[in-house]
């Protein structure tokens, strides 16, 4: 079994080749997709102004209002279904969210601390993003008896509210890999792998990956730290590779990219 994550940009720029690549896999695939840019685009068309917050550490991030969660659910679900639409001609494919069969549970952050416009730290009502708390491995294994590909949208489920939540696709993929213990977790991005001095780092032990994560730019640092944790938890390989090439899955499995193992 493989867990594959492709970001929204890979989907937008290389959809056909990505689909062909999934079609070639001779194994079960759990496919997590992103789509943040697509959500932003549709939000704009609907006249919803994006809201950002700044953390006390100065990190600016998107704030998911209820209104935007609606768009998030629509757009992410449509992306999932377009994958199913394309794959279902040859692969038994199903698309799920974290709520289906309580597949992926999360906790909504009810209150978050921000740095407000006056530069003061303030606690505000949290948006509709979540932190993943558990994955229903049994459900995925049962679904894999009947399906070749399980497409998972970055939508986790908080049953206490109850609400679907916007979760980061990488976090979703890492959480699934930790629970499902696939042969490999592939992260298909829009770069060739982890770059140091503009060269791809080919192999890293979990320890090296963790060390490097503290010295590297945002985005990739989280990927590396999570990759380190995931391999330490018993997943054989995490491969960070380019999703914009021909047959990106085969290429990643051949080791093109950064392999953490």
């Amino acid at each position: 079994m493989l867990v594959v994550k492709a970001g929204g940009r890979v989907l937008q720029r290389n959809f056909d080749r990505l689909i062909e690549s999934v079609r070639k896999v001779n194994d079960k695939v759990v496919f997590v997709h992103g789509g943040g840019d697509q959500v932003t685009e549709t939000s704009k068309k609907l006249g919803i102004e994006p809201k950002f917050v700044v953390s006390p550490e100065g990190i600016r991030s998107r704030y998911t209002t209820k209104e935007e969660l609606e768009v998030f659910i629509m757009v992410m679900s449509a992306i999932s279904r377009h994958m199913v639409e394309r794959l279902s001609t040859t692969k038994r494919t199903i698309a799920i969210s974290g709520a289906d069969g309580n597949a992926v549970l999360a906790e909504r952050k009810k209150r978050i601390m921000i740095m407000d416009e006056r530069g003061k730290k303030r606690i505000i009502e949290g948006g509709y993003t979540g932190k993943i708390t558990s994955v229903n491995g049994g459900l995925f294994r049962q679904l894999m008896d009947f399906f070749d590909v399980i497409v998972v949208a970055p939508l986790a489920y908080d049953p206490t509210e109850p609400t679907l939540l916007n979760v980061d696709g990488d976090q979703m993929a890492f959480a699934l890999a930790k629970e499902l213990k696939p042969d490999a977790l592939l992260l298909l991005t829009d770069v060739d792998g982890v770059l140091v001095d503009q060269k791809v780092v080919e192999r890293l032990s979990p320890e090296q990956a963790k060390e490097l994560s503290f010295k590297i730019g945002p985005g990739m640092n989280r990927k590396l730290l999570m990759a380190s944790e995931t391999v330490s938890s018993g997943v054989r390989r995490v491969i960070i590779a380019n999703g914009l090439v021909d047959d990106p899955i085969s290429q990643a499995l051949l080791g093109k990219g950064t392999v953490v193992e």
């Binding site: 929204g8 992103g34 789509g35 943040g36 959500v39 953390s55 550490e57 990190i59 991030s61 998107r62 998911t64 998030f72 992410m76 952050k109 009810k110 209150r111 978050i112 601390m113 407000d116 003061k120 730290k121 303030r122 606690i123 505000i124 949290g126 948006g127 509709y128 993003t129 979540g130 932190k131 970055p154 939540l165 916007n166 979760v167 980061d168 696709g169 976090q171």
Partner: protein
């Protein structure tokens, strides 16, 4: 300025008149305090259940 008591150490805390509910103050005792409105007046409580988080 409004003079309030720290709910942790009991010491004095100076709070700005136009502080907003949710505003966080680190008291000299180390406590992280949150400004809130109680009966129409500014009050202080320990800031809890906060965390950073990202979505997609």
């Amino acid at each position: 300025m409004v003079l309030l008591k720290c709910p942790v150490c009991g010491g004095d805390v100076q709070v700005d008149d136009n502080a907003l509910p949710g505003e966080v103050i680190e008291h000299e005792c180390g406590a992280l305090l949150e400004v809130y409105m109680k009966d129409g007046k500014l009050a202080l409580r320990v800031a809890e259940q906060i965390g950073e988080d990202w979505g997609e």
